[in-house]
């Protein structure tokens, strides 16, 4: 009886962990699919689209996750096939550096202006 209980416990634990792994894969899959552009749709992600292109990409992403590929490797695979445009979140390169650096520059410029104002206000008070 005790052995049976142990077997049931092992069975439940292993099945639970499998379920958990499926759930983690689904979360990762959805995260990736939401970040992939459906190239034949208008402003839709692969996750939102029901097109043939999107369903093929969904299958490929699912397959790559099951093969053990990491999120970045899957993006890299799709980039090689369709270019940077396929990913919603663009990578830093010569075409996108303005996009990435402009907010940082504006932030630094704004910070410098505020800092200067504070310093000059302090000096005025003294």
């Amino acid at each position: 009886m005790k052995i049976l209980k142990i077997f049931i416990l092992i069975f439940l634990v292993t099945n639970f962990s499998e379920l958990k792994s499926d759930e983690t894969n689904d979360i990762l899959k959805n995260k990736i699919l939401k970040n992939i552009r459906c190239l034949i749709c208008q402003g839709q992600s692969v996750y939102d689209s029901e097109s043939e292109f999107a369903s093929s990409i969904k299958l490929i992403v699912d397959r790559k996750i099951n093969e053990g590929l990491k999120e970045k490797q899957i993006y890299q695979f799709l980039r090689e096939k369709y270019g940077d445009w396929v990913i919603f979140d663009p990578k830093l390169n010569k075409n996108t550096y303005v996009l990435w650096l402009l907010p940082l520059l504006l932030f630094l410029l704004g910070g410098a202006i505020i800092y200067k104002k504070i310093v000059s206000n302090k000096n005025n008070k003294i």
Partner: protein
Amino acid sequence: MKNKLILFVVVIFLSFCFIIFYKGLNTPNNYTPKVNEKKNIPIFKAKDFNSDSYINSDKIFEENTFYIVNIWASWCVPCRAEHPLLMQLSKNESIKLIGLNYRDNFSNAKKFIDDFGNPYSRILIDKDGTLGVEFGAFGVPETFLINKNKDIIKKFIGPINQEIVNEIKSIIK
């Protein structure tokens, strides 16, 4: 002096923004795929249309031969329009045509080939469209030109026309 410096910085900043937006407005916002980018052929395993057995990509493509990979389906109307041109290309001995039957029903695809002729030296089945993704395809019809070094050198999106056939012929000459 201080005001001049601020004015200078503001002018520089506004000019910069103007250039960025001007360039942004002038570039088309829709996606234009790269059709002349040289890529290696993907490594894959696919089901053969005639023998029903699986075959590896390295067994399909041999070196020193030009190949055309054409993605087609019996339900695709533009595929019918380009089919006579593929038949014409298949008569050329310096090139081999590989067909990728995309998301199709086997009996419909077979009927299509029986009715219109078979330009392909081999047909592969792409039941779920994932093989097309390996090639970087968007849908049907799509045609890829592969050179003697097994590189994809050109991609033709949509049905091919006489102009494209002439272009292919001039490349493989």
